[in-house]
């Protein structure tokens, strides 16, 4: 997909008519743009910024797919299996990119890999909304959709994401008074 067909920012013609899902889609544009602008500005702690961006992007992708698929299921959407397969394929692609990124040590190579990931996410989301998500536009209704914030769906989508919080304080001996 070219830049002409896919705008940098989310535009109303990409709306699927459900606010929570549109908000998720906007998020992907924003995070992809955030990564690209960080790469352009090249601050001292770019790597740390990219790692945080990529972690959040992955969480939001997983949370968003969970939201869409639960809604399709609730609505009895007939193309759920196909749609789910496309989501899984993208998750696998993104996962490979992240794995590769984590192996890179060279600063410039990291920038290139992160740039590529941001472009892939941006272009895929744009293409996927226009060609695949639009197919459920008239099928899904707001009542089918879990409209809680994306972070909560991300938590549920994460396999180990129950309440087994990791305790930073247990790393240091002794606990505080009170």
């Amino acid at each position: 997909m070219t830049d002409q067909a896919c705008p940098i920012e989310w535009t109303p013609d990409l709306s699927v008519g459900i606010e929570a899902i549109d908000d998720d889609h906007k998020t992907f544009f924003v995070v992809a743009d955030l990564m690209q602008s960080a790469i352009r500005e090249n601050p001292q702690n770019l790597e740390a910024i990219l790692r945080s961006s990529i972690t959040i992007l992955q969480e939001y992708v997983n949370g968003h797919f969970l939201r869409e698929e639960r809604a399709m299921e609730a609505a009895g959407y007939p193309k759920l299996a196909e749609h789910h397969a496309l989501h899984e394929a993208f998750k696998a692609t993104a996962h490979r990119f992240v794995e590769d990124f984590n192996k890179i040590v060279d600063h410039n190579e990291q920038k290139k890999a992160a740039q590529k990931l941001a472009e892939v996410v941006h272009d895929w989301v744009c293409d996927h909304i226009a060609k695949v998500d639009m197919a459920y536009k008239d099928f899904l209704k707001a009542e089918h959709v879990d409209s809680r914030p994306l972070a909560f769906l991300s938590q549920e989508a994460d396999e180990g994401g129950d309440d087994d919080d990791f305790d930073l304080m247990s790393m240091i001996p002794g606990d505080g008074p009170q």
């Binding site: 908000d23 998720d24 906007k26 998020t27 924003v30 995070v31 955030l34 602008s37 960080a38 500005e41 601050p43 702690n45 740390a48 910024i49 790692r51 945080s52 961006s53 990529i54 972690t55 959040i56 969480e59 939001y60 809680r148 914030p149 994306l150 972070a151 909560f152 991300s154 938590q155 994460d158 180990g160 994401g161 309440d163 087994d164 919080d165 990791f166 305790d167 930073l168 304080m169 247990s170 790393m171 240091i172 001996p173 606990d175 505080g176 008074p177 009170q178």
Partner: protein, 277 residues
């Protein structure tokens, strides 16, 4: 999951939040986490340093704060203490949740931030899911105000990115290792100091003994010299006495000079004859 629903509601009721981080990229990242992941109509204010943060807090109450804990660290700790201990000073809620983050923490940094009143700490990379877990945990904490400490109940858990649990386990080992290393370093430092002190003391003792030995040697030398001098004097006196005795003996042994006036005619004649010869 009744507990979860109730807590989600609590977090989602937040309307105002302060983000304290001078880095514009993290400001934006945190903004996106909160804007898309959190309360629908949350208003976010950004501060670039502690003074700016306090000014914004005075201007309008916030429901929670998200902050970089290495503003630098001392500035972050000062900011936390000013809020937590400012019951009489501020018009805003000093018990509000404060979530801190940094790339890494030493055990000492965690202690200090905890004792300054931080609610939760996160290690970067930031995670949206963990972010909200921290908020949930922080908003369910009792607030303690004593003369020594003001802040959330410290008998609690600080949360970090469970998505990076393995990394966290490594980090835990690293931190424990670091604490051990620090302890060993301090002990080595103390040992080295003690060894230095002992060496200095030994050196001092050695110098003192050397000085003493030198003084003793000098004293003995002077004594020997004195003895030699006395001996020489005695010898000289003895020699003089011997000479005098010898002279006296000689004098005694020598025949008396004849006195011509007391001589008889015969003796005088012999004497004159002798002189003539």
């Amino acid at each position: 999951m009744q507990d979860k629903v109730e807590i989600v509601f609590n977090i989602l009721s937040a309307e105002y939040c302060l983000v304290l981080d001078p880095n514009p990229h993290y400001q934006r990242l945190v903004k996106e986490i909160l804007r898309f992941g959190g309360p629908k109509n949350l208003e976010i204010e950004f501060a670039v340093d502690a003074d700016h943060g306090l000014r914004l807090l005075r201007e309008g109450s916030m429901h929670f704060i998200v902050m970089e804990t290495k503003l630098p660290l001392e500035e972050s700790i000062d900011f936390l203490m000013k809020i937590r201990k400012g019951r009489a000073k501020w018009n805003f809620d000093i018990s509000l949740p404060i979530i801190g983050y940094a790339d890494a923490f030493t055990p000492q940094e965690i202690y200090r931030l905890r004792d300054a009143g931080i609610s939760e700490l996160m290690i970067r990379p930031l995670s949206a899911a963990i972010f909200f877990k921290c908020l949930k945990s922080a908003s369910s904490r009792k607030f303690i105000e004593t003369s020594g400490y003001c802040g959330p109940d410290r008998r609690r858990r600080l949360v970090m990115n469970y998505a990076n649990k393995r990394r966290a386990d490594d980090r835990a080992a690293e931190l424990a290792e670091a604490a051990k290393a620090e302890e060993a370093r301090l002990k080595a430092e103390a040992d080295a100091k003690a060894a230095l002190q002992a060496a200095a003391k030994a050196e001092e003792e050695k110098a003192r003994k050397l000085e003493e030995a030198q003084a003793e040697a000098a004293r003995k030398k002077a004594q020997a010299e004195e003895l030699a001098r006395e001996k020489a004097q005695a010898e000289a006196a003895a020699a003089a006495a011997a000479e005098m005795a010898r002279k006296k003996a000689e004098a005694e042994a020598a025949p008396a000079k004849p006195d011509p006036s007391a001589m008889t005619q015969e003796e005088l004649a012999r004497h004159l004859l002798k002189q003539k010869k």
